[in-house]
């Protein structure tokens, strides 16, 4: 009796262990490829059920679950007909509730070729003019969009219509870009996906496909220099160095609206990041003069796509920003030259301190306080560059002096560290001397002991 009970218990525990193991291995298995994830659960539903579970099969909901377009097209021998389904399987739209019929209409629950019947409203290929309305059909509907992504906006189509791209499309220009030109057709990916062409990391190349092509831009009277100019700008350089903050095309241009309505120049946007510079600039004599001359605040000195660091180009040299407007015998000439001298002084002081610090580091001398001072010096230099926008010589002089004092502090700390190191070295030589003396004595003693021992032996 007892033994049979044991046997039963044993068998039960084995069964339990096997069950647990098999369901655990299922949990560890890699996620199913996205193609089958989009396939109707009618095919995969039974396989996904854990082994040994008593759960009843999930009732099918044909209106939601069936996407026979997808499964059929995926298995077609003609690569051209298969391509759409393959691309769709990676897309953000692969959710079964969106499916092919959302754009193409037709009857997705009909597995025969009758699904393409024109009476079902089937569209083979939406025309250029139809696309925006087709996308808007879902993307303008907040209740629909909210089911998938509550943070996704619903104003893309409206903004697009305000843009030059949208106006061109409305005017019937078939070469103008519509939704699918940037987002793709079947393989549409989320903007956050690194593989999406509209992703921050790739969007410059996407825009450059048209805006970097002279032939494409010619009919519209636009230059095709902006993408290259941006790449060479401070923004582009920071981006290529891996900055996550540097603005790409869509940093200033609204992704769907292009230029913002009612803004004359990109300068209206600079203060989204550069607040201090703009605030100081508005108080400067330049601000009023620029308004009078109809110049966009930031652009005359800094450029737009090719935003450069003109701060270090202050002065009256031919390529300096100041020399663009001020002539050699102008009254502000002295101010420009004075600013250039101040900036150069601070630049030199910073460079000298940084070189000094690097030399100390190479010599194995770590001076954390000095490297902190060099960091502070950098901050002080940025402050000085910001102050240039005021053209206030008093303030500039103060800021430059503050920066130079920090540079001096760094140099002093390094000098002190070097002196300390020398003292340590002197201590080292004393210690080495004493140790060598000890070594000599020990060697002498051991020789003496060996001699004495040998004498004793003999």
């Amino acid at each position: 009796m007892r033994s049979s009970e044991h046997t039963l218990l044993f068998a039960a525990s084995i069964a339990l262990a096997v069950g647990v193991a098999s369901s655990a291995s299922r949990a560890d298995a890699p996620p199913l490829p996205s193609a089958s994830a989009a396939a109707p659960p009618a095919a995969s539903g039974s396989a996904a059920k854990p082994a040994g579970s008593e759960e009843a099969p999930r009732p099918k909901r044909p209106e939601r679950d069936a996407n026979t377009c997808f499964t059929c097209h995926l298995s077609l021998p003609d690569a051209k007909l298969r391509k759409a389904a393959e691309e769709f399987s990676h897309s953000v739209h692969k959710d079964e509730r969106i499916g092919c019929v959302a754009c193409h209409k037709g009857n997705a629950s009909d597995p025969t070729v009758q699904a393409h019947d024109k009476t079902t409203g089937f569209i083979v290929r939406p025309t250029h003019a139809q696309v925006a309305a087709l996308c808007g059909g879902c993307h303008e509907d907040p209740t629909f969009v909210r089911r998938f992504n509550a943070r996704l906006g619903v104003d893309q189509r409206k903004l697009f219509e305000l843009s030059r791209h949208g106006k061109m499309a409305a005017a019937g220009d078939a070469a103008s870009p519509t939704c699918t030109n940037c987002h793709g057709v079947h393989g549409i990916l989320a903007v956050s996906s690194p593989n999406a062409e509209v992703n921050r990391r790739r969007v410059r190349d996407l825009c450059a496909k048209c805006h970097g092509n002279v032939e494409t831009m010619k009919p519209y009277g636009l230059a095709a220099t902006q993408p290259v100019a941006w790449s060479k700008s401070v923004h582009g350089k920071a981006f290529h160095e891996g900055s996550e903050q540097a603005p790409t095309c869509t940093g200033c241009h609204s992704p769907h609206a292009g230029t913002l309505p009612g803004t004359a120049s990109v300068a209206a946007l600079c203060d989204r990041c550069h607040q201090d510079e703009r605030e100081l600039f508005l108080k400067s004599p330049h601000s009023r003069a620029f308004r009078k001359l109809g110049l966009a605040d930031c652009v005359p000195c800094h450029g737009d796509h090719d935003v450069t660091r003109t701060s270090w180009l202050a002065g009256m040299t031919p390529d300096s920003a100041c020399a663009k407007c001020h002539s050699k015998d102008d009254k502000p000439k002295k101010v420009a030259e004075d600013i250039a001298v101040l900036l150069e002084d601070v630049q030199k002081a910073e460079h000298a301190a940084a070189v000094d610090l690097a030399e100390a580091k190479t010599a194995g001398l770590l001076v954390p306080d000095a490297s902190f001072a060099v960091d502070r010096l950098r901050t002080a230099k940025i402050r000085l560059i910001t102050t240039v926008h005021t053209l206030d010589m008093q303030q500039l002089g103060d800021d430059a002096n503050a920066a130079k004092m920090i540079a001096q502090e760094a140099r002093d700390l390094l000098t002190k560290a070097r002196r300390d190191r020398q003292v340590e070295r002197r201590g080292y030589f004393v210690a080495i001397g004493l140790a060598s003396l000890l070594l000599t004595l020990l060697v002498a003693k051991s020789i003496q002991l060996a001699r004495r021992r040998r004498r004793g032996e003999s």
Binding site: V367, P368, A417, D420, L439, L442, S446
Partner: protein
């Protein structure tokens, strides 16, 4: 006066008895194992002393570890010296452990009755290498991080215990901020305690097992051998202090997790990162080997072969009872292979 003080002490401590015993004990005057053993003990004590000094200002959490090491090396008086001594001594310690094992192997002095000496010696080698290995991570610099990753990845390829050992060393599946706490605990607690026990046991068995008079043992332990050993130790100390003063040990840039995690999967580390020198031979072997050996991943194969070799080393006192020269030859070949591979990897 001096004699009075000495008598006062020896009456209470009983030193003369011990010294008389040591006077009577004879060793061979140039026995390398005794010298290297003595130097190893000195190095260990030096490591403990400098390590305790370094423990005071060090902060074992990922946020402050690197900054505190920078402060030790840069701001604290003689901090860079203490740190230099600690680092250079650790290299010397591992090197001397290898020398000791090689000497014992070549002289075949692992045989009865010295089995326990041999085994504790092998354990000391493992403990010593582990101490150096865990200590290298503590500055929490990018290079230390990548080194630790490469080395533990190699250890993880070992048979049976490999993956477990890797997880144990890393404190998880990858090198994470928790690995630092693990490394610190091992480096300052577990391993030194283990090494102390092993050292004590090792020396006790050395004393027991070399009981009878040995041929050529003519030099009394006290004072002659001890004076000689003191001279050698002073010379080694001079070398270490000079190295610590003139060859600074870099702190490196702090760990940048985002940068290190970049290759998806986390298994591969940049190929220009070399493991510490005592693992270089392995690194070199793995790089030279074809991807698969005898149908096994070559990393697993090499680590498996090494484990077999280690088992062989443990069983050596039983395999080689009579002291045949063959083991000495095999040992010599292995030592040459190790030296050549390490040299090749460095150059």
């Amino acid at each position: 006066m001096l004699d009075d003080t000495r008598k006062w002490f020896s009456d209470r401590v009983g030193a003369p008895v011990l010294l008389e015993k040591l006077r009577e004990r004879r060793v061979s005057g140039l026995s390398p194992t005794h010298f290297v053993g003595g130097v190893l003990l000195m190095l260990f004590l030096l490591e403990v002393a400098s390590g305790i000094l370094l423990m005071l200002p060090y902060r074992p959490d990922p946020q402050h570890a690197h900054a505190s090491v920078v402060a030790i090396a840069g701001r604290l008086p003689y901090g860079s010296l203490v740190r230099g001594v600690h680092a250079w001594t650790s290299h010397m310690f591992v090197a001397m452990l290898f020398v000791q094992i090689a000497t014992v192997l070549l002289n075949r002095v692992y045989r009865e009755p010295k089995e326990l000496v041999w085994w504790t010696g092998l354990l000391l080698l493992v403990t010593g290498v582990s101490m150096a290995f865990t200590g290298a991570l503590l500055p929490w610099s990018q290079n230390a991080y990548l080194q630790a990753r490469v080395s533990s990845e190699m250890i993880g390829q070992g048979p049976i215990f490999g993956p477990w050992l890797k997880r144990m060393l890393r404190g998880g599946d990858d090198i994470t901020p928790w690995s630092l706490g693990h490394a610190y605990g091992f480096h300052t607690g577990v391993l030194p305690a283990l090494a102390t026990l092993l050292f004590g046991f090792h020396m006790a068995v050395v004393r027991r097992s070399s009981g009878g008079p040995v041929e050529g043992a003519t030099v009394p332990v006290y004072p002659e051998f001890i004076v000689r050993l003191a001279a050698v130790c002073t010379a080694v100390l001079l070398l270490i202090v000079s190295l610590a003063t003139f060859v600074p040990v870099a702190v490196g840039t702090p760990v940048n997790m985002a940068q290190s995690m970049a290759p998806a999967g986390g298994g591969t580390a940049p190929s220009d990162v070399l493991p510490p020198w005592y693992f270089l031979f392995l690194h070199d072997l793995l790089r030279a080997a074809p991807p698969r050996l005898l149908g096994v991943e070559s990393a697993k194969f090499v680590l498996g072969a090494l484990s077999v070799l280690a088992l062989f080393a443990v069983a050596l006192p039983f395999i080689d009872r009579k002291g045949s020269k063959i083991t000495a030859y095999i040992g010599a070949v292995l030592i040459v292979v190790f030296l050549v591979l390490t040299g090749h990897a460095i150059l």
